[in-house]
């Protein structure tokens, strides 16, 4: 494999800070949150808790138990009924959102794929912060930890600035170590959003297996450019892998293209089955889709984003 490589295209890969997400779009994002079956139990989030606990948000009464917070005792009920009751409800809780961004050079072929990936990561990070979730940004290859964990919209700007400064980096796209960090550093579980084209070096199943089950919801956003699904090339070509390695000489004809399409579809399906076996969700997103008009509505239709 060749030495350190720059991104294989000359197109700008940095999302300009000012152009990453506009303010109006961010405002519209605040009502959405990632679907998650896992709650960390941390207070402060906007997600309704699954257990009824003494809380100021009154939904029901229950008999007082030793240890309950006496601030939640319903004194009016005591006066009327001469029994001690406490007010209970679903205490809002937060979840851990780990956004794992594939920064390999393949994400920059074409550049639109990288730009969309960064914007997706920014959008999901923003709405998660708006929902009170604890957001961490990680990446591979290169340094696994990129930003966070942070909560609250006040830290969203830092997330956007970090994402804006990111570029694809050389190295093999080995996701296993990064995902292992997720499992190790956030033992409570949460949602792991993997934004990648899944042209991974190594075994994808082994990498995903590094996320300990069943604490982690996996959302695999499989980004591919339409040209990767149906390449508009033919003839005798020298194919160069964006992530390096020896070139491949091929003669592309109709038969070869048809076989390639089938191969890629099969690969996408394999990733989907892999994620599904882990109880996760998989969504194929084309790099040509506009973020707000196509990607987010798609994720909402898939139930991956909720109000």
């Amino acid at each position: 494999m060749s030495g350190p490589r720059r991104a294989p295209t000359d197109a700008p890969t940095k999302a300009a800070t000012t152009g990453l997400l506009d303010d109006a779009f961010l405002k519209r994002l605040e009502g959405l949150r990632l679907k998650s079956r896992r709650l960390s139990g941390a207070p402060g989030g906007a997600r309704p808790g699954r257990q009824r606990t003494p809380t100021a948000d009154f939904m029901d009464h229950r008999a007082y138990s030793p240890g309950d917070d006496i601030r939640h005792v319903d004194w009016h009920a005591l006066a009327r009924l001469d029994e001690v009751y406490v007010k209970v409800g679903q205490r809002p809780q937060a979840t851990a959102v780990e956004i794992v961004l594939d920064r390999s050079f393949s994400m920059a072929v074409p550049p639109t794929k990288w730009f969309l990936a960064v914007r997706i990561a920014a959008a999901l990070g923003w709405l998660s912060l708006a929902a009170g979730d604890r957001v961490t940004l990680r990446g591979f290859p290169g340094p696994a930890h990129l930003w966070g964990p942070m909560t609250g919209l006040g830290s969203a700007k830092g997330l956007l600035m970090t994402l804006s400064a990111l570029e694809p980096v050389p190295g093999q796209s080995l996701a296993g170590d990064t995902l292992a960090d997720v499992g190790r550093l956030s033992p409570g579980g949460g949602v792991t959003v993997i934004v990648s084209d899944f042209w991974l070096a190594g075994d994808p199943e082994a990498a995903i297996a590094r996320l300990p089950a069943p604490r982690w919801d996996i959302l695999a956003l499989h980004l591919l450019d339409p040209a990767e699904l149906d390449p508009p090339i033919s003839g005798t070509l020298e194919l160069e892998d964006a992530e390096g390695g020896d070139p491949l000489y091929v003669d592309v004809d109709d038969d070869v293209r048809a076989a390639y399409r089938a191969e890629v579809r099969a690969r996408v399906e394999a990733v989907r089955r892999l994620v599904s076996r882990r109880g996760g969700d998989h969504a194929l997103i084309l790099a040509s889709w506009p973020l707000e008009r196509a990607v987010l509505p798609f994720l909402r239709r898939q139930g991956l984003l909720t109000d």
Partner: protein
């Protein structure tokens, strides 16, 4: 390496074109893809992707094209070993080959050219080519070579080579052995036994008898003046001895009177020179008297016959003319007789009507046919005479102003018209069985005809006699010259004592006296002398550029094949093998899961 078809090398132009095409293909489009992994899994889908590495493919195609281009030029590899294939040898037997040691050198060269495993064709080049052996074994070739001697008064190498090439076959190696220098671009193996060395020579280049006198020409082909002693013998007696002084390149004529009964004259140069073979000329002087018979009367014809030299014509009648072949000429004034006598037949003023082919019987006749000696003239006046076509009897005959009174006569199927008179056939000639017949369908004695009084008539009669009875051979000929003989089979005794049987003509192959004897009916003997001297063949100093054009198209012969071992088939096979290598590489089974094309 030489190329038999240099024009074929134009195919080599394909090589740079193929190289250019590959270089253009090598500049393949480079495409960066997110991952080559899915492409790598498709290596077995297209057969086109089973190619050899590009540079190897370029080298393979360029090499194959180069091999094919060279093969198109029909390359020949030089070989020093004895030619093991067929060989066609042309051996010059002109008199010059007898000078010094040329003949010994030539025999040795021919012996070397004879390859034992192959077939040998041997043709000698004299005045006319003569085939000695056709695709025979080497032993037979050596046997034929042993019987050959030079001495002909010239050598036609061109025709002899054409004959040899045609008989030897396209694969035969052509070898010419001669004392003439090789022409440029001869295209054959040329062995010059003279080695370019000029030799001094004096020769008798001509000899003949004219009007009772012996004529001879002597020429000096030396670098300086020569004085030679010239002797003449008649019938074995020395009649003259004189010294003749000649400057370089000069010739001189000498004439001697001959006695009336002389039979044989010999002219000889005394003294040594490079070529003794052409120092002597023999002339047969005496003429055999030939016998003929005449039936009927025609003063004009009789006068013409009397002027013929060497004929004794006896008058006879229609009931008594000879049919046993004792005479060589029969002249009939009137209808063609039945039976037709053997030998030559001249008919003058036949009867009216057609003449049948097999019997010569007269057809329908007019009232005058009751007297066959009086043919019926055509109604009308005399008519101008003219020759019909090109026939040796009338070639060059001056008939201007000659007119005859033609007799009504149809041309029979066995004859061709030779004279016509304003649309009417006046004479015709042909063959009936073994006999040649000329019919003059007019009365030369008719007062209305003036032909008998013109020189053309006796000349016409003389030619007719020579044509029907056969002309006697001249007294002296050149060695190799075809000598016409009268009709019949002759046994020719040659100067070396050998006897050959021939009809129609004799061809002497050596200098000296030749005697032709006819047996059977009308036996007689003819003789002629043959000399080797010739004004070109005897000149051993002046190199003659051989008139040799092997590229001239031959009517029936193949081209003279080039020498050397052909390498074209091997080159073509190598090119095909390279193409098969590429095909085998493409068709090979790919190991599952392995990168078949990764460099």
């Amino acid at each position: 390496m030489m190329f038999a078809v240099p024009a074929g090398l134009v195919m080599l132009a394909l090589v740079p074109l193929i190289v250019l095409w590959h270089l253009l293909r090598l500049r393949r489009r480079r495409v960066v893809v997110a991952s080559v992994e899915p492409w790598r899994r498709l290596m077995g889908v297209s057969r086109r992707r089973r190619r050899l590495p590009p540079l190897m493919l370029l080298a393979l195609h360029a090499t194959a094209a180069g091999a094919l281009g060279l093969a198109a030029g029909d390359p020949r590899l030089p070989t020093t070993e004895r030619w093991s294939g067929d060989v066609a040898i042309v051996l010059d037997v002109g008199v010059g080959m007898a000078a010094a040691d040329r003949w010994q050198v030539a025999r040795a060269a021919v012996g070397d050219a004879i390859g034992t495993p192959g077939k040998v064709t041997l043709v000698t080049a004299g005045l006319r080519p003569r085939v000695r052996l056709v695709r025979g074994h080497a032993a037979a070739a050596r046997q034929a070579l042993a019987t050959l001697l030079p001495g002909e008064a010239g050598a036609d190498l061109t025709e002899a080579t054409r004959v040899a090439a045609r008989l030897g076959g396209a694969a035969a190696r052509l070898v010419v052995v001669t004392d003439e220098p090789s022409p440029q671009d001869a295209g054959v193996a040329w062995i010059d036994v003279s080695e370019g060395m000029p030799l001094d020579n004096v020769a008798v280049t001509a000899a003949d008898v004219r009007e009772g006198r012996l004529f001879a020409r002597i020429a000096n082909y030396s670098g300086g003046p020569r004085t030679v002693s010239l002797g003449v013998e008649v019938d074995g007696r020395r009649v003259d001895q004189r010294d003749v002084a000649l400057g370089p390149g000069e010739s001189a004529d000498a004439v001697w009177p001959l006695p009336g009964d002389a039979a044989l004259a010999v002219v000889a140069l005394e003294g040594a020179d490079a070529l003794p073979l052409d120092d002597t000329a023999i002339v047969a002087v005496g003429r055999r008297v030939r016998r003929g018979q005449m039936v009927g009367a025609s003063p004009a014809v009789e006068r013409a016959l009397a002027a013929l030299d060497g004929w004794q014509i006896q008058r006879t009648g229609r009931a008594t003319y000879g049919v046993d072949g004792a005479v060589e000429l029969s002249v009939f004034v009137g209808p063609i007789p039945d039976p037709l006598p053997p030998g030559g037949v001249l008919v003058v003023a036949p009867g009216t009507g057609a003449v049948s082919q097999d019997t010569g019987a007269q057809g329908e006749t007019s009232a005058s046919a009751t007297d066959p000696s009086v043919p019926a003239p055509l109604a009308g006046s005399r008519r101008e005479l003219e020759a019909v076509g090109a026939h040796p009897l009338t070639a060059g005959l001056d008939l201007a102003g000659a007119h005859i009174v033609p007799l009504a006569s149809d041309v029979p199927p066995w004859a061709d018209p030779i004279l016509s008179s304003e649309g009417t056939t006046a004479a015709f000639a042909g063959s009936i069985g073994e006999s040649r017949v000329v019919v003059l369908a007019f009365d030369p004695d008719d007062p209305g005809s003036n032909l008998a009084h013109r020189p053309a008539f006796p000349l016409l009669v003389a030619r007719a006699v020579d044509w029907v009875a056969g002309a006697p051979p001249p007294g002296a000929v050149a060695v190799g010259q075809a000598v016409p003989l009268p009709r019949g089979e002759y046994q020719v005794t040659n100067p070396d004592g050998s006897v050959t049987t021939t009809t129609g003509h004799a061809q002497p192959f050596g200098p000296g006296l030749h005697v032709a004897r006819r047996t059977g009916s009308a036996p007689h003997e003819l003789s002629f002398g043959a000399r080797s001297g010739d004004d070109q063949a005897s000149d051993l100093r002046t190199p003659r550029q051989a008139v040799f054009a092997p590229q001239e198209p031959s009517a029936a012969g193949p081209e003279v094949p080039p020498t050397g071992r052909p390498a074209g088939p091997a080159l073509a096979a190598a090119a095909m093998l390279l193409v098969l290598v590429e095909g085998a590489w493409r068709a090979r089974p790919l190991p599952a899961g392995q990168d078949a094309e990764r460099r």
